[in-house]
């Protein structure tokens, strides 16, 4: 982490379709601190049609609460750093194209998703659909930015030019501002930049060539394409939304998509702690998954999978029976379907008890679907030939995805479904949906200021990560969850815990049990965990693990329900799971 750059307080805004949230961050003797937050409705839609009205109100409200003038007559007060991330207009809509779906198109996809985009389509020459269908699709789905990749440097030429010609034929128009040129980023074979630029002429597209996302089959280079996406987002996309040109003139750093800012702070946090991290952001309309495994960042997005606008799509994609299996009481399919339908069309600000149960059930399936999708993105580079020897057959070195719950040290939930419910409910949601294995820290974002901290990274990398850890993340607990299955009521593992004060406790955990062990929030302890044969806690079948852990709000969480988790058909068992966790005291299932 580099040294901090500046000493001015930072006023940081994140603007989404419904809310404009302001955060004031300043230096104190103890390091950086969040001085206050405020939020107000976003004013990009009628009748206001000016995003700065909401920005000004949020900043003034915040200034009022902290006793400091944060807003002058013509924008943010002097002596402040003013930063902003944005996801209005339903995020950044992108199309990407490449030559092969598993090589260049996949790298282009990773670049776009990593830059915070919502992908509306991926085109490649080997995808089994005819060219005319691609043309029609390009025409009908208007993106904000188009990213074209293809060919390694010095590699394929004609196929890349054919794809460029298809795009030319489609005459792709931007989502907003029919009179504007669509930003077109070319990140393919570096040797044919000029020919591609000529094909995608200046009259139709604002074309910019950057370094290849896949300069060689075995190498991926996403940085330049991502930076170009940020630039185009700032220069061509957001300025078409009402009031943004004024906002752009005020900010001290380029405005970037909210999801990109979240990705940046999560990446910095995982690198700082040297951990593998899996984060799920369950929103109203979309569900994002971020992962950092062995310092490789990936983001995937399930558009139209969310807990208000996107809740019907969860039932459609997962199947209504998959949602219903998580509801811990008897409800008819009609009741559940009507609740889901009404949550989509009405987006109620407060929920009835039945609606909460249905929403939590849907959240589990949203996360499950999103993580399944994420496995496709968080994968080793395809197209690279790998040699396996006999040892590799037993290792996961060549598994298709990086995602491995046994090697995931941190699991993080983000979204109202985690913060509006009790910590025990948030915990069980994450345990059920993501099924962590081995030893995993379970956390949620309690303040919702990750985008703000992502923006702060440029100002103060250390400060941003410290704030994330100290003020933003709520550590629910460290979870012990053996992989494998056993006999219900038979012993699953023996736990010997030695706390920092030297006291030692011993526990026997039965298979099927879910409970907490007392360990103060932030307190450290040494664990010796011995799983029964057939179960693995991280060292292999039946092998003992010694590990240092930290307690959270719930202390130490012991989940011996087995992996993969089997959801019981008996509703009373499901209801019992829901009551098994208690904040920082021992309880029994």
């Amino acid at each position: 982490m580099g040294a901090d750059l500046r000493n001015e307080p930072c006023l940081v805004l994140d603007i989404d379709d419904s809310l404009t949230k302001a955060v004031l961050i300043d230096k104190t003797e103890q390091g950086y601190a969040i001085k206050g937050t405020s939020q107000t409705s976003t004013t990009v839609d009628p009748p206001n049609l000016d995003v700065t009205i909401g920005a000004e109100k949020a900043a003034k409200d915040l200034g009022h609460s902290v006793g400091k003038a944060l807003w002058a007559a013509d924008g943010p007060s002097k002596g402040l750093r003013f930063l902003c991330s944005s996801s209005t207009g339903g995020s950044l809509y992108m199309m990407v194209a490449g030559i092969t779906s598993m090589i260049s198109a996949e790298s282009a996809q990773r670049a776009a998703l990593g830059a915070g985009a919502l992908l509306i389509d991926v085109f490649s020459k080997d995808y089994p659909r005819p060219d005319y269908e691609m043309v029609e699709r390009m025409r009908s789905m208007k993106p904000d930015i188009f990213l074209l990749a293809g060919g390694t440097d010095g590699g394929a030429v004609q196929q890349v030019l054919d794809m460029a010609r298809l795009i030319k034929t489609a005459d792709v128009r931007p989502r907003f501002g029919s009179k504007y040129k669509l930003p077109m980023i070319y990140a393919g074979n570096i040797e044919i930049r000029n020919q591609v630029s000529e094909t995608l002429s200046e009259e139709r597209y604002a074309t910019k060539a950057v370094d290849n996302v896949r300069p060689a089959v075995e190498r991926e280079n996403l940085g330049p394409a991502k930076e170009a996406i940020y630039d185009s987002f700032m220069e061509h996309v957001i300025v078409h939304s009402p009031g943004y040109s004024k906002l752009v003139s005020w900010v001290d750093e380029p405005i970037i998509p909210t999801q990109a800012a979240i990705g940046k702070i999560l990446y910095a946090y995982a690198l700082e702690r040297q951990v593998n991290l899996l984060a799920v952001d369950v929103g109203g309309a979309t569900t994002d998954v971020y992962s950092i495994y062995h310092s490789v960042f990936n983001r995937s997005l399930n558009a139209d999978i969310g807990l208000t606008y996107g809740i019907s799509n969860i039932a459609k994609m997962a199947g209504i029976e998959k949602v219903m299996r998580w509801i811990p009481k008897e409800m008819s399919e009609r009741e559940v379907r009507n609740i889901i339908g009404n949550m989509m069309v009405q987006q109620p600000p407060s929920l009835t008890s039945d609606e909460i149960l249905v929403q939590q059930a849907a959240a589990r399936e949203a996360m499950r679907l999103a993580v399944e999708n994420h496995k496709e993105i968080a994968s080793r580079l395809k197209g690279v030939s790998v040699r396996r020897d006999i040892g590799d057959i037993f290792s996961q070195a060549f598994e298709s995805t990086y995602l491995d719950m046994m090697k995931t040290q941190v699991v993080l939930g983000r979204g109202r479904v985690f913060t509006q419910n009790q910590t025990t409910e948030a915990t069980i949601l994450l345990l059920d949906a993501l099924q962590p294995q081995g030893v995993t820290e379970i956390m949620i974002d309690r303040l919702g200021v990750m985008p703000h901290l992502g923006m702060l990274l440029k100002e103060s990398p250390q400060g941003a990560v410290q704030l994330l850890s100290r003020e933003c993340l709520l550590k629910l607990g460290t979870c012990l969850a053996p992989k494998g299955r056993g006999n219900r009521s038979g012993v699953a593992m023996w736990i010997r815990m030695t706390k920092a004060d030297g006291t030692t406790t011993e526990d026997e955990v039965s298979f099927g049990e879910l409970r907490t062990l007392a360990l103060g929030n932030g307190d450290k302890a040494r664990l010796e965990v011995t799983p029964r044969r057939g179960l693995d806690i991280g060292r292999g079948n039946g092998r003992r693990l010694e590990v240092d852990v930290v307690g959270g709000e719930l202390g130490l969480i012991v989940d011996a329900r087995g992996r993969p988790l089997e959801v019981p058909a008996e509703k009373h068992l499901l209801a019992k799971w829901g009551k098994s966790l208690t904040p920082n005291q021992q309880s029994f299932a």
């Binding site: 005319y132 606008y309 019907s312 994609m317 339908g341 009835t352």
Partner: protein, 301 residues
Amino acid sequence: MQRSCLKMSQLELRFQEDTSVKKVRRIPAQGQVLVKVGDIVSSETIVAKGTVLNPEIHDVKVYAELEVYPEEAEKYMLKDEGDDVKKDEVIAILRSFFGRSTRVCRSPVDGSIETFLRSSGRVLIRGKPIPVEVRAHIPGRVVDVIPNEGAVVECRAALLQGIFGIGGETVGELIVTVDNPDEALATELIKDDHKGKIIVGGSFATVDALRKAATTGVNGIIVGGVDQRDLVDFLGYEIGTGITGKEKTGFTLIVTEGFGVHPMEERIFNFLKSHERKQASIDGSTQIRTRMLRPEIILPS
């Protein structure tokens, strides 16, 4: 547990008893505008007409027809990009000595050459443009013309918004089939003479009622609630995202309150009842997310 109906402030937003309604009517292409500013139009008046690109594109493998390598196909082409072609017209020819094994490639449709893909020796031929037209949808006066695309029609009307709908724009005489907003729209309430009409139910429409409406030829249904399961059964597919308007159900459905049994808001029900037998223009198109487009019922004054 049922969620209560919308709050009064939300109701005010979606129910304006007397307001100016302006409708932008435009074709999705350049064409001919058939009205001028000041014209009085009916809901059926054609405002503009033109043609749109035919989405049908035929992928013709020229190289395969000529039995040559893909990259060689270019030299045998008779047509360029943009050229019009007739069905069965020769677009590429490979002549051999004495014409004994001459091979040709013909267009499968009337249309034009969209693109020639040199490296793969293929031609994309687009079918002939498709005629399109747009009607006024509401009776009123033309207040603006959008050159080559359409016009803006204005009228005084009552404007009501539903919460969810299926099907697009339609017009018809308003018929209230129930006595009070608590009553369900049952099959027996839909009569043969409701063909072409917009019928108003109370709290709920059964799946059988939806099916009967379709077979009767009803133009529209306005009702407080419908079971999501029934709607899925009626449509034949799951409702995923809240984007509707293109369904081919034969009629437009507007749900005013929500999924399940929901008595229609009394004020709305009484208003619709007081406008019985009047002409209504309705649109079930819904976009729940960013644009927040809700289905509309327009009752011109």
